[in-house]
Amino acid sequence: MKDHVLVFVLGAAAWAVPLFAQTSPLPLPPAVEKDLAARASDVTEVTLNKNMLGFASKFMNGKDKDEAATQQLIQGLDGIYVRSYEFDKEGQYSMDEIEKLRQYFETSEWSPIVRTREHGEITDVMVKLVNGESHGMFILSAERKELTIVLILGPIRMEQLSELRGIGGLGGALGSMGGAQHGPHGKNKDKDKTGDNDHDKNKDNNQDQSKDTKDGGQ
């Protein structure tokens, strides 16, 4: 009888551990997130997991062609996470922190496709490639007094980003993407101004980008 109780307790514990182990859904170092939030004057966090996206998609009119496409896109996604920090004054975050955030995604799965550094403003876009298909997107947009991080998990292409503008917090962040909506295999050289060797990872996608190097990835 005791054994049964023990098995039950262990089973329950094994089931409960993942529930309690849930930390920030955004796969960033929690310390970085906390630090930035503590220094920011305004913080916006949007966390939409698969369940919530499914729920949101039900509000779309499946009969409307555009909305049906968005609905289909959202239903296929695993999550959308947005973190936006606004600061009172400049210099509230360091380039080291930006690098740390970027490095977090510099794994073999993630490939940088856009990197711009202009007048103190930074935009980084990385895609997660699985069997040559985009299964996630990380967007980091840093302005002098504002920092926005967007993580989209699930199958998505650059040209579909505009369809997500209606989702809370994404409009502004995706706005910074501007004309860079040509996809990892596309003609994104207008926006890609990266100068370091990160693009070695996805040479096949970005062979023409090295020609457009401007500022040497400061």
Binding site: S41, D42, V43, N51, F55, K58, F59, N61, G168
Partner: protein, 170 residues
């Protein structure tokens, strides 16, 4: 035979409280959050009377789209609110089943928005805490997107029809 009229009366008397009780299920978490806010920030929340009945009516009016409504309003909220602390308190009172969907916080504490959701089968429970200036609203509702979309769609169609008619008349 004369007392047959008693049957519908008794039914109504029995059904209404049952419906009100059902509509006010989930009140525990709501009262827990409101109570914590009241004691932490020394404020007094105004609860709307007969909310269970209002909830029942909204359930009928939206064809089941919205139900389980709870609303509390706190006026003259002068105390500064630490966003992190408020979030922790609400999270703790709601329990593990609720996930935070949106959090908006300003350091000066004047604006705070928290939206939590909780899947309930085909429905989604929503818990909203919103502080704007000296006013805070706490709202809990249960939403059925399919039914709500349907009832919203009705108005959209009639609105478009109205537009068309207006265009025709021009």
């Amino acid at each position: 035979m004369k007392r047959l009229w008693l049957i519908p009366v008794v039914c109504v008397v029995l059904v209404i409280p049952a419906a009100v009780v059902l509509a006010s299920s989930g009140e525990g978490a709501f009262d827990g959050v409101v109570g914590s806010i009241e004691s932490k920030y020394h404020v007094r929340a105004t609860r709307i009377p007969f909310m269970g009945l209002v909830s029942l009516i909204s359930h009928k009016a939206t064809y089941g789209g919205v139900s389980g409504m709870h609303v509390a309003e706190i006026e003259n909220f002068q105390t500064q609110v630490d966003g992190e602390e408020l979030n922790r308190m609400v999270e703790q009172k709601l329990g593990a089943g609720w996930a935070r969907m949106i959090r908006e916080t300003s350091r000066n504490g004047k604006e705070q928005t928290l939206i939590f959701v909780h899947p309930e089968g085909n429905r989604m429970g929503m818990f909203i805490v919103d502080k704007d200036g000296n006013e805070m609203d706490v709202v809990q509702i249960s939403v059925d997107p399919d039914h709500l979309n349907q009832s919203i769609g009705q108005y959209e169609h009639s609105h478009h029809d109205g537009d068309k008619q207006g265009d025709d008349s021009e």
